[in-house]
């Protein structure tokens, strides 16, 4: 999910936050607030890596009201990571608020007000930890100054706790009773604001339950399709069955005869390239309820010109991709001379790895609501990227962005799918055409057929051993249709960004490294899925390393520790032909530290009793992988069930994500990540014949169920004072090869193709 470094400049929010008191107009825009409250805007002033001012200047709001209510604005989208809890809780902790009484409001999409809202790339905590602390600390200082002035004591004798300012002499005052005094306060300068010590936090570093847990458990939490607008029509769309297909003609006679159906509207797609934020060509059926719309669509008669992809067959393309890895490709990284390493090698291991297309299959299929009026269009959508949705709708409707408002509901899963606003654009176009509010409802079949898929991939790795049995060379070929090709069909090689995800960032001390890519075309919409090309890269790299260790007669844990060398910061720039993305962060700020990876490797071997398990003959597999700046090592144990099915009794993860913010949500992301990865490894695959996706629903595109899930997932979090990094995606990449390496122990067969069957 690297939309960030694909589409925008590097953003580096240094701790330069400025707190200000917003205008009355801004205050009113927040809406539904108790009058007489105190509103604090926090302008997260940032500079770029080289000190240049950048466009990152969001305002976050912290509202104190006289009834002692603390209200915080969540500006990132909640899709299951817990971010709607974890960011506000940082402010609350720094402020000394009573967390049990804090209220959270979801922000609409607004670049000027909130800065980066692209909830993607596992960077919410990474980007906003410091600004959120600064926001809370500023408000705390103001409250303390106000109370101290009132009591005529020195501010240094005061602290905040549970929504009160407390004087060392015992006096207390509720935040709510300081509202009028606060309004007379000057905003302190950033250098006057002191952040709390990590050890003094009450919430950060602890298990904090998510804010929405109760609402979800009682069914009142609001997801995309739950928004109701009077007079709203429900639209279901027959989209081009093959990417690039165009409607030649259609008959809606039978459709319009179905009770409840009110209108049929054609949406003009732009053909190839589809782009990432445009509607696909299709025929929309609008009805009074979802069922009527679905029935109406079934009755449509559409004649398609299927276009250039109508003979596309993914199995055939994969064969060609595998073949291409046998030839010389475009060199993307070079260290030493692999050709001579191969010539002088005593052993050459050469393996080929393939993985399929994957669909996101969020439990909530895409859905969006638009209410178009001539001078304003309001949207409600489960979107990871409300600002992109706003821009895309503005472009599609040829309206200025100021006339578009995007409200963000809870997301029933995202995994990268809901970054793309194509479904939001559909709703806006249809609302304008129908002159009525419209909910576009995707069915599961729509979701499986028209996703932005994780790309199918082929890789070939050659590893050479010298006469002493040491690894002398590493040659990694990777080929997969690039995400960029969805917007620009001339992009035939993976981008630097995609290669920086587990391929060219190969961190090991091997004297000769050559990494090559090959051409492949996109025949469908390619997107990013939880951990993106780390998925297939880690599968191949860590599978290969396990084989190399075996060939060397070494324990793979010991081998990786050896190959990582001394504890130090490493760079790749001199060897890489393009640029090294480092997930959008300057490498000086977030270095690649071998010691941190070695630490999680050692720890996971200890926690999982690695050596003992091996000695006992257990089928255990190991892999380590850094992604999204988070260091992870993983050991998976497998077994066979009574019916020969795969069982995963134990998983051990050790994660170093810097300062752990919400430990419960870190664990839950790893628990879920292991299960997500189990689906990718064992059950899920999308294939195309005649340009059309062959799977329709959860029968053809299978994801794991409870009985297939890893049973005990032990998540060990490294205590750290390093800058915090994200945990949404990093659990996925190391799990898959650790699982495959474990299966090899059980069956004696290496896994070179995903998904695998026992």
């Amino acid at each position: 999910m690297f939309a960030k470094f694909l589409f925008s400049k590097k953003q580096d929010p240094e701790n330069r936050s400025q707190v200000y008191i917003p205008s009355r107009r801004e205050f009113l825009k927040i809406g539904s607030l108790a009058t007489g409250g105190f509103l604090l805007g926090v302008n997260f002033q940032c500079t770029g890596p080289k000190g240049d001012p950048i466009t990152f200047a969001p305002n976050s709001y912290l509202i104190l009201s006289s009834d002692n209510q603390v209200t915080l604005i969540a500006h990132r989208s909640e899709m299951g990571t817990g971010i709607r809890t974890s960011l506000p809780m940082i402010i609350a902790d720094e402020l000394g608020a009573d967390w049990s009484k804090v209220k959270i409001i979801q922000a609409e999409g607004d670049n000027e007000k909130y800065g980066d809202q692209n909830t993607d790339g596992s960077y919410s905590v990474r980007m906003f930890f410091e600004p959120m602390r600064q926001a809370g600390a500023t408000a705390r200082l103001m409250l303390i100054n106000a109370a101290a002035l009132k009591w005529e004591v020195d501010p240094s004798e005061c602290r905040t706790q549970k929504g009160q300012v407390i004087h060392s002499g015992g006096k207390t005052v509720d935040f709510g009773d300081l509202i009028e005094d606060l309004k007379k306060q000057e905003i302190p300068k950033p250098e006057e604001v002191k952040l709390k010590d990590l050890k003094d936090y009450q919430l950060i570093g602890k298990d904090v339950p998510i804010y929405d847990a109760k609402d979800i458990a009682v069914g009142t939490a609001v997801f995309g399709a739950d928004v109701d607008i009077p007079g709203m029509k429900i639209a279901v769309i027959q989209r081009s069955p093959v990417i690039g297909a165009k409607v030649v003609s259609f008959s809606d006679e039978k459709t319009l005869a179905i009770p409840g159906v009110s209108q049929v509207i054609k949406i003009d797609g732009q053909g190839i390239p589809t782009g990432l934020d445009k509607a696909l060509e299709g025929i929309a059926v609008l009805a009074d309820n979802t069922w009527a719309a679905i029935q109406g669509r079934k009755a449509l008669e559409v004649d398609w010109d299927l276009g250039p992809n109508q003979e596309y067959n993914s199995a055939k393309q994969l064969e060609e991709m595998v073949k291409s890895t046998l030839s010389n490709g475009q060199i993307r990284r070079e260290r030493g001379n692999f050709t001579s390493a191969q010539r002088e090698a005593s052993t050459v291991l050469e393996r080929s790895f393939v993985a399929p297309y994957y669909a996101h299959a969020t439990m909530e299929p895409p859905v969006a609501i638009a209410n178009w009026k001539a001078d304003f269009c309001e949207i409600w959508a489960p979107t990871q990227h409300p600002q992109w949705a706003r821009t895309a709708v503005a472009t599609a409707l040829a309206m200025p962005e100021e006339q578009i408002r995007v409200n963000v509901t809870l997301l029933g899963g995202g995994f990268g799918r809901k970054s793309k606003p194509d479904y939001v654009v559909e709703a806006a176009l249809l609302s304008r055409a129908a002159k009525a509010p419209v909910r576009v409802q995707w069915t599961r079949e729509d979701d499986i057929h028209h996703d932005f898929y994780h790309s199918l991939s082929a890789q070939r790795i050659k590893a050479t051993l010298d006469r002493e049995g040491k690894i002398s060379g590493w040659n990694h070929h990777t080929v997969f249709p690039a995400i960029g090709a969805t917007g620009n069909p001339d992009e035939l090689h993976p981008s630097d960004g995609e290669l920086g995800l587990g391929c060219i960032d190969f961190p090991f001390e091997v004297p000769n490294i050559r990494i090559e890519t090959h051409e492949s075309k996109a025949h469908t919409r390619i997107g990013w899925l939880r951990s993106v090309s780390n998925i297939h890269h880690s599968f191949a790299v860590n599978g290969m390393l396990d084989e190399v260790a075996e060939a060397r007669g070494m324990d793979p844990v010991d081998m990786l520790l050896e190959l990582l060398g001394e504890d130090r910061d490493i760079t790749f720039d001199e060897e890489i032909k393009g640029t090294f993305g480092n997930y959008g962060e300057p490498i000086e700020k977030f270095p690649w530290n071998t010691g941190r990876l070695k630490n999680v490797i050692r720890k996971v071997a200890g926690e999982a009793n690695w050596k003992e398990s091996l000695a006992q003959g257990k089928s255990v597999g190991f892999a380590a992988h850094k992604s999204f700046l988070t260091y992870v090592a993983c050991i998976v144990e497998v077994d066979k069930g009574t019916n020969g099915e795969l069982l995963i009794p134990n998983v051990h993860y050790v994660v170093d994500c810097g300062v752990p913010v919400n430990t419960d949500r870190i664990r839950s992301q790893f628990e879920g990540g292991a299960q997500f990865a189990t689906s990718l490894a064992t059950t899920s695959a999308i294939s195309f014949e005649n340009g059309q996706v062959q799977q329709n629903n959860f029968d053809g595109y299978q994801v794991i169920r409870m009985s297939q899930s890893p049973k005990n997932i032990h998540v060990h979090i490294v205590e750290s004072t390093e800058k915090p990094t994200g945990v949404g995606e990093p659990p996925v990449p190391p799990f898959i090869p650790a699982l495959c390496n474990a299966v090899y122990k059980m069956t004696g067969k290496r896994i070179y193709e995903l998904p695998f069957k026992l």
Binding site: T81, I294, T362, M363, G412
Partner: protein
């Protein structure tokens, strides 16, 4: 269009709809209760699970004409104050991630415990295998069911 009286959460709702309309869409679009979710439309994922006379059914694949006098319980009606032992255990274990499948999970779990108050891990898996959670909250679901089971 036919007229139907649907008994949902101890309240009768008069609706007019085609006989083939799945109960899911009647509940969501016509009655306006939004806690029951659409996941697959084919009875494959369990997101739309409701209780029909206490037994879990997939409302996306159950026509309203089949409901008759049976009483339907949706997530909104599982308990008056949202404090069914299963709901409490769900909050205690912080089961949800995105939360979308959880109404269905909770109703399947409530039906399981009613039929089998002390289920084993295997029995939980058998009863819950029809409910997909893409976020992967399965282990916490299992723990929460055990916790609720112990509090019954």
């Amino acid at each position: 269009m036919e007229k139907y009286s649907l008994g949902i959460n101890n309240k009768v709702h008069e609706i007019s709809a085609e006989a083939e309309m799945p109960l899911l869409w009647a509940i969501r679009d016509l009655v306006g209760l939004k806690g029951t979710k659409f996941g697959c439309g084919q009875g494959l994922c369990g997101a739309c699970t409701v209780l029909l006379d206490g037994s879990p059914i997939r409302s996306c694949s159950f026509q309203i004409s089949e409901v008759g006098d049976s009483s339907i319980t949706t997530i909104e009606g599982l308990s008056e104050k949202g404090d069914h032992p299963i709901q409490q255990a769900w909050v205690q274990h912080v089961v949800p991630q995105c939360g979308y499948c959880q109404s269905g999970q909770i109703l399947s779990a409530a039906a399981l415990l009613k039929a089998n108050p002390k289920p084993s891990d295997e029995e939980i898996e058998a009863a819950m295998n029809g409910n997909i959670c893409r976020c992967g909250t399965y282990n916490r679901i299992k723990e929460a069911i055990h916790t609720a089971s112990n509090s019954l």
